[in-house]
Symmetry: C2
Subunit: 317 residues, 2 copies
DNA sequence: GTGCTCGCTGTCGATCTTCATATCAAAACC
DNA sequence: GGTTTTGATATGAAGATCGACAGCGAGCAC
C-alpha cells in the first residue's frame, strides 16, 4: 500500500490545528478539498483515521501516529524550502569562476574568501585561463563567469562585460628594495636590475614589454624568472632585487602580506579594464549576482584607495 | 516557498535510479508525467535541479541535496505504510472489550495477554458489565465487542453472537478443602459450608441460587462473602473452606495459579453459552478478527480439555 | 554522419479544487 | 428534557489541474 506523503502532511496539520477547517486554512486549501482528501485516504486504508460520528473531528490512535509521521515529512519539506531559499537568494550555491591567474590569486580569491566568511553555503570552483580559453569555457558553460582584463572593443557580441577596476599597471619590487630609498628614479637606475616576467602568453607579459619600452630600457633587459603564478612571482620578488610589472590592484591587495611594494615610476597603462565577462542571457546561478555585487563593491573601494595613493605619490614626486 | 513533498520524492527516485525514465518506471508513472512535474518544479524554484543539456539527466548540487531530503520523506512514507499494514492485518490496533467480570478476568484477559506476547502492537481497553450495559455500550460504540454468557433467544436483533464456550458451571473451593478428600459427596456434606457469592446483579448469582436449589440445600445457606471480583472471590476461597459456583472454564484457567479446584458434584448447567456479542455490520477494527480468532481457538482447546476432564471425573465417580 | 536512446511537447480524458449548500453533532436555551 | 442554535463536516456541480499516449527533437556513440 503506497501512501501519499501529502495526505500525511494534511492529516498532520488537521491534528495539529485540532480541526478540519483550521487545518485546511493552515494549508491554504479549501475545507471541502481537505475533507474529501481525508475521506478518500481513509477509504483507501480501510481503517478509520478519525473517530466516526464525532463532530469536532478527533483522530484515532492510528490517525495520531500517522499524523506524527506527517509532521516529520512536513518538517523535511520545510528544510528543503530553506535550502532552496538560500540558493535562490544567492546565499548558497556553486559557482565556477575562471580568470587570469595573477588577478584571480591576487584580488578575486581573497574577496571570495571574504564573502564566504559572511555567508556560508557558497561553493567556488576556480579555473585559470586567458581570453580565448575563458571565452570558450563560458560558451561551453564549464564556467559561469570570467574575470580578466579586456579592451572595450574586444568584447564578444554574445557576452556582457562588467568593468570593475582600471587596468593600471605598476612596477613592483620587494619592500626595502634599493630603488625605494631613492627620491627620484632614473631609467639608468632601473636598468641595473633584472626582471621577473609573468607567463609569456599572458596579456600582462605584453604589458611588461610595453612598460620596458616606454621607459626606454628595452635594450638589455635581463629576465631572471618567467612564468608561474602570483605566489611564485612574489616569492621571487621578495627574496631578490628583481622588478616586475603587476596590476596596481594586485600589488595593493597583497603588498603587506607578501612584502612587496611599487616603484614611483609612471608607466603608461593600457586602455584595458579588469572586469567580469559573462554569457549574454546565460541564466546565471543566483549566487553569481551575490558574488558580482560583492566583487564590485570591494573593487570600487579598492579603486578609490588606489586613486588616492596615486595622487599622493604624484604630489610627492 | 512551499515545496511539494511528492516532487521531492520523485526527484529522489530519479536520482536514485539514475534517469528520468527509470525513475518514472519505479514510481509507477509515465515518463512524460515525471518529466513535466520536474520541469514545473524547476521553474517554480527558479534554480536548475539538473545540469541543463546533459542527456543522461544529471542532478545539480541542489538537486542532490533535495533528493536526499526526498529520500527521507520516502522512507517516512514507507514507515507509515507498514504501520497501516499492521493495523489492516489486525496485528496492531486498539480494541475495546467489555464483558462479565469473572469471565473477563479468568479467561479473556489471560488469552489477551497471550496474544499480546505473540503480536506486539495491540492495545486493549477492558470494561466490565452485564448484558444490558454491554448491549448499550455496543450500540454507543464505546466498546467494540462484549464477552458474556447468553441464551440463544436473548440475542438482540441488531447483534451477532458467536458462542465460544459452553456455560457449564461447577462448585469451586480451595485445593485441599475437606470435601475434596471424600469419595462421594452428599448434600449434607455440602450444607456444612458457607458460600461465597458473585455480585448479586450478575447472571452467575442466579446460577448459584439455581445450583443450591438443585442440590436441595436452599434452606439454610450461609453467605459469608458476596460481590467483588474474581480476584477477591478466589482469594477468599483460598483462605477459607467456603464454596462458590464458577464457570468451569474460569476454574480451569486459574486453578493452578490461585489454588482452587472443583467439587465432583453434578450441577445442572444453564442453557446459556459464553460467547462474543458484537454489533451487526458494526465495522469492526481489523484487530477484532485477530482477537476473536485467538479467543475461539484457545477456547475450543479449553472446551476439549474440560470435556475430557468431565468424562474422567464421571468415570471415577 | 547515422543510428539509437532518452527526454520534451500536443492533445484528450480523469482527477482534484472550489463555491455554494445540505447535514449533522454538540452546546445553549427554555 | 426537549428544542433551538451554532459550529463543523459532508456533498453536488462547474472549472482548473494533472496524467497518459503518441509523436518529435536532441545528445551520444560508433
Amino acid at each position: 500500500m503506497k501512501i501519499d506523503s501529502e495526505h500525511l502532511e494534511i492529516l498532520a496539520m488537521i491534528v495539529e490545528r485540532g480541526g478540519l477547517t483550521e487545518g485546511a486554512e493552515a494549508l491554504g486549501k479549501s475545507q471541502p478539498s481537505v475533507s474529501r482528501t481525508m475521506a478518500i485516504f481513509e477509504k483507501r486504508l480501510g481503517v478509520p483515521l478519525f473517530e466516526p460520528g464525532r463532530r469536532p473531528l478527533r483522530p484515532t490512535d492510528l490517525g495520531l501516529e500517522l499524523a506524527r509521521i506527517g509532521q516529520r515529512i512536513h518538517n523535511l519539506s520545510l528544510e528543503a524550502s530553506v535550502l532552496v531559499d538560500r540558493v535562490q537568494s544567492g546565499r548558497a550555491g556553486h559557482l565556477r569562476i575562471g580568470g587570469t591567474p595573477l588577478f584571480m590569486d591576487g584580488v578575486i580569491t581573497p574577496l571570495l574568501a571574504d564573502l564566504q566568511e559572511q555567508v556560508s553555503g557558497l561553493q567556488f570552483e576556480q579555473a585559470y585561463g586567458y581570453f580565448d580559453s575563458l571565452a570558450t569555457r563560458l560558451r561551453n558553460k564549464t564556467i559561469d563567469m570570467a574575470v580578466l582584463p579586456m579592451h572595450a572593443r574586444q568584447i564578444p557580441i554574445d557576452m556582457d562585460f562588467l568593468p570593475i577596476l582600471s587596468g593600471r599597471n605598476v612596477i613592483a619590487c620587494r619592500q626595502g628594495h634599493p630603488l625605494t630609498r631613492r627620491g627620484a628614479i632614473t631609467l639608468a637606475d632601473i636598468a641595473e636590475f633584472s626582471w621577473v616576467s609573468p607567463p609569456q602568453d599572458s596579456p600582462l607579459f605584453r604589458d611588461l614589454k610595453r612598460v620596458i619600452q616606454s621607459i626606454g630600457a628595452s635594450e638589455n633587459v635581463k629576465f631572471t624568472f618567467s612564468g608561474g603564478t602570483l605566489a611564485s612571482i612574489t616569492s621571487f620578488l621578495a627574496r631578490t632585487n628583481c622588478l616586475t610589472v603587476l596590476p596596481y590592484s594586485v600589488v595593493h591587495m597583497v603588498r603587506d602580506a607578501l612584502r612587496i611594494t611599487t616603484l614611483p615610476v609612471r608607466v603608461d597603462h593600457p586602455e584595458r579594464q579588469l572586469g567580469i565577462l559573462s554569457l549574454k542571457g546565460g541564466d546565471q546561478p543566483t549566487a553569481a549576482q551575490t558574488v558580482i555585487d560583492h566583487i564590485r563593491s570591494h573593487c570600487a573601494a579598492l579603486e578609490a584607495r588606489i586613486e588616492k595613493e596615486q595622487q599622493f605619490a604624484a604630489l610627492r614626486a
